[in-house]
Amino acid sequence: MQKVIITTATPINAKSLASFKKALAQKLDQTIELELRVDPLVIGGSKVRIGSKVIDLTIAAKLAQIKKQLLKQL
C-alpha cells in the first residue's frame, strides 16, 4: 500500500483524477491510498507526492525555479 497525495489549486475534476489514477496504477503496481489536497498557493498545475518523493509541477514551483535561476545569472 502506497500513500499518494495530489495537491492542486482548485478541486481536481473527474477527468484529470481518472487519468492520474490510471498513470499511478501503471507506475506503482501497488494498491494506492489517494489523498487530494487543495492549496490555492500553488496557483496552478499539480504536485504529486508518492511516499517520500515529490514531483512538483505547480506554477508556484516553476516560478520559484525561474527566480532562482535568474538570480544566479545576475
Binding site: S52, K53, V54, I55, D56, L57, Q65
Partner: protein
C-alpha cells in the same frame, strides 16, 4: 477634530508635492545615465531558464524537542547535509537512522510544526567569505553581527574538510611572536603550531590570546578569534578592546554566545577555521584562537544527548575526541608548493579546580603540540601572566625560536625551576648561605621581569635585552620592588641611546660576543645613572 483633518490633508498634499518633482526628475535622469549593461533582455534570460520536472526526496517533521527535529522520509539525504524545513528554516542532518532522520535546527526554531515538509538542498555546510571579512564580527553562519551591513561574498568555504595531507606540509620554522616574555622565551610558539592555553576560570587565559592578537600588528598575521558560549557582554568588551587598540584591522571575530543555540556553538570553531583556511589558500599566516573548547564540548554533548546518541565518560559522546582532533588537525604550515601559509591554533580549555586529568583537558592536551598552563595560585600571588613554567611545554616551537632569544633565555627554564625549589625550601630556614641567597636573589629578579601586563606586548629585541640583563645578574643590585620601574626606564633608555643595538638584534637575529659586551656596558651605564632603583649599600 476638523483641524486635525485639515492638517492631515495638508501634510498629505505636502508629501505629494515633495515627492512629485523628485520622481519627475528621476525619470529623465535614468534615461540619460542608465549604462547599457543594466538593461536586461528578460525574454532571452527566460529562454535560458530550464524547467525540468524532477522527483525530489522530501520528509515530514514528526517530532521537535530542544532544537532537534525528527523527520521521516528524506530517503537519499546525506550525513551532514543541510535540509530546509517548511521552506524557511534550515537544519543539519546529523543522525541517519532506519526510519527517521535527526536534524539539528540552525537558528531560531520558532514556528516549526509537526507535519512540516522537510526538503533536501544537496549542500553541505559552508560559509561565505571574501577579503572584506577582515575587521568584522560574524556568527557561525557567517552573517555579520556588527551592524556594519552585509558582507560581499566571493568564495564559499566548507566547514568540514579533511586536514592538509602529509606531503603538503612542512615543519614549523617561523616563530609566532606572542609579545609575552615568559612565552616567547621559554614556551615558544611557531607558526602552524597548536598550543593549548589551559587553566582555571579567571587565570588570564583569554588575556594571553588577546595579548598575542595585539602583538600581531606588525607581524603580517591575520587573527581569527572564536568566542564559544561566552557572555555577550564579554564578547562586546573583547571587540571594543580590539577596536580601540587597532587590532580589528587584521582580525575577524566569530561569535556564538551563551544565548545562541547549541548547534551554533558547536559550529562556530569550524566557521572560524573555514575563514582562516580562506586566507591560508592565499598563502597567508593566520592565528586562530578558540575561546573556549570546554564550552564547545559541552554544546556538542547537549546536541548528542538530544539526538539520543550513546554517552560515555562525563556523558560526552564517543566521538568527542574526534570533534577536537579534526578541528585542530587542520592547523598546519604548508610548504612553498602549496602556498607556504600557516594556521596557528591557540585553543583554550577551562579546568575545574586545576584538574588537568578530566576528560576534555586530557583529550586536547594530547592533540596539541604543547600547553601553557596557568595557575590560580600564581595569579593570586601577583605573578601575571600566571604561567606555571614547570608544567608548560612547547613541543615544536623551539625549532622556530629566534636565535637571539634562545641564546639569552637558554637556561632560564632550568634556573627558574631550581629557584622555585630553593624558594620552597628557604621558607623554613632563616639562615642561608651566601650562594643560596644569591640564587634566590637572581631568581626573584628573573621572575620579576617575566611579569608583564597582558595588553603590553614587547618586541623581540626588547625581550632579548631585558632577559639578557636579568639572567646575567645585571639586575641583582636592583631593588626587588623596583624591577618593573627599572625595566620600563631601561627599555626607554636603550631606545633613546642605544637604538643601534636593538636594530642589530633584529637584523642579525642572533647574539654575538661583541653585542654581549656592548649591551653589558649599556646596562651598567644605565644602572649608574639610576641609583634610586638600586639596593642601598651598607656603609
Amino acid at each position: 477634530m476638523p483641524v486635525t483633518k485639515n492638517q492631515s490633508k495638508k501634510s498629505l498634499k505636502k508629501t505629494v508635492q515633495a515627492t512629485r518633482p523628485q520622481s519627475a526628475k528621476r525619470v529623465p535622469a535614468a534615461k540619460k545615465t542608465t549604462p547599457a549593461h543594466e538593461v536586461f533582455e528578460l525574454s532571452s534570460l527566460l529562454n535560458q531558464v530550464k524547467l525540468t520536472p524532477t522527483a525530489e526526496s522530501v520528509g515530514e517533521v514528526i517530532a521537535y524537542s530542544d532544537g532537534v527535529v525528527r523527520a521521516t522520509g528524506l530517503d537519499e539525504v546525506q550525513a551532514g547535509e543541510i535540509v530546509e524545513i517548511s521552506g524557511k528554516k534550515f537544519g543539519l542532518a546529523l543522525n541517519l537512522e532506519a526510519t527517521s532522520v535527526g536534524i539539528v535546527v540552525l537558528g531560531d526554531p520558532m514556528g516549526i510544526e509537526v507535519g512540516d515538509l522537510v526538503t533536501r538542498t544537496g549542500r553541505i555546510l559552508s560559509v561565505g567569505v571574501s577579503d572584506s571579512i577582515i575587521g568584522r564580527v560574524v556568527n557561525s553562519s557567517g552573517e555579520t553581527l556588527d551592524g556594519k551591513g552585509s558582507l560581499p561574498v566571493t568564495t564559499f568555504m566548507p566547514l568540514e574538510k579533511i586536514a592538509p595531507g602529509v606531503m603538503a606540509r612542512q615543519s614549523v620554522t617561523v616563530p609566532l611572536q606572542t609579545g609575552i616574555k615568559a612565552i616567547d622565551a621559554m614556551i615558544p610558539v611557531g607558526r602552524g603550531q597548536r598550543e593549548l592555553i589551559i587553566g582555571d576560570r579567571s587565570t588570564g587565559k583569554t588575556a594571553i590570546g588577546l595579548g598575542t592578537m595585539l602583538n600581531q600588528h606588525d607581524q603580517d598575521v591575520i587573527c581569527v578569534y572564536v568566542a564559544i558560549g561566552q557572555k555577550r557582554a564579554a564578547v562586546a568588551q573583547t571587540v571594543k578592546i580590539l577596536e580601540d587598540r587597532g587590532a580589528m584591522a587584521y582580525s575577524i571575530i566569530v561569535s556564538a554566545t551563551a544565548s545562541d543555540s547549541a548547534a551554533e556553538q558547536f559550529l562556530a570553531p569550524y566557521t572560524g577555521l573555514a575563514i582562516a583556511e580562506y586566507f591560508l589558500q592565499q598563502g597567508k599566516d593566520v592565528l586562530i584562537i578558540y575561546d573556549d573548547l570546554s564550552k564547545h564540548a559541552q554544546a556538542y554533548r547537549e546536541i548528542s544527548l538530544l539526538l539520543r546518541r550513546p554517552s560515555g565518560r562525563e556523558a560526552y559522546p564517543g566521538d568527542v575526541f574526534y570533534l577536537h582532533s579534526r578541528l585542530l588537525e587542520r592547523a598546519c604550515r604548508l610548504n612553498e608548493k602549496h602556498g607556504g601559509g600557516s594556521i596557528t591554533a591557540l585553543p583554550i580549555i577551562e579546568t575545574q579546580a586545576n584538574d588537568v586529568s578530566a576528560y576534555i583537558p586530557t583529550n586536547v592536551i594530547s592533540i596539541t603540540d604543547g600547553q601553557i598552563y596557568l595557575e590560580a595560585d600564581l595569579f593570586n600571588a601577583g605573578m601575571k601572566p600566571a604561567i606555571n613554567v614547570g608544567l608548560s611545554v612547547s613541543r615544536v616551537g623551539s625549532a622556530a625560536q629566534v636565535k637571539a632569544v634562545k641564546q639569552v633565555a637558554g637556561t632560564m627554564k632550568l634556573d627558574l625551576a631550581q629557584f622555585r625549589e630553593l624558594q620552597a625550601f628557604a621558607q623554613f630556614s632563616s639562615d642561608l648561605d651566601e650562594r643560596t641567597k644569591k640564587t634566590l636573589d637572581r631568581g626573584t629578579r628573573v621572575n620579576g621581569v617575566l611579569k608583564q601586563g597582558w595588553d603590553d606586548p614587547m618586541s623581540v629585541a626588547e625581550q632579548v635585552v631585558v632577559i639578557f640583563a636579568a639572567v646575567n645578574g645585571l639586575l641583582d643590585m636592583v631593588r626587588e620592588d623596583a624591577v618593573p620601574a627599572w625595566e620600563e626606564a631601561y627599555v626607554e633608555y636603550l631606545h633613546t641611546s642605544y637604538q643601534q643595538l636593538l636594530d642589530q638584534i633584529m637584523t642579525d637575529q642572533k647574539f654575538s660576543d661583541e653585542l654581549n659586551k656592548k649591551l653589558t656596558e649599556a646596562v651598567q651605564t644605565f644602572n649608574d645613572l639610576h641609583s634610586e632603583l638600586m639596593i642601598k649599600k651598607e656603609e
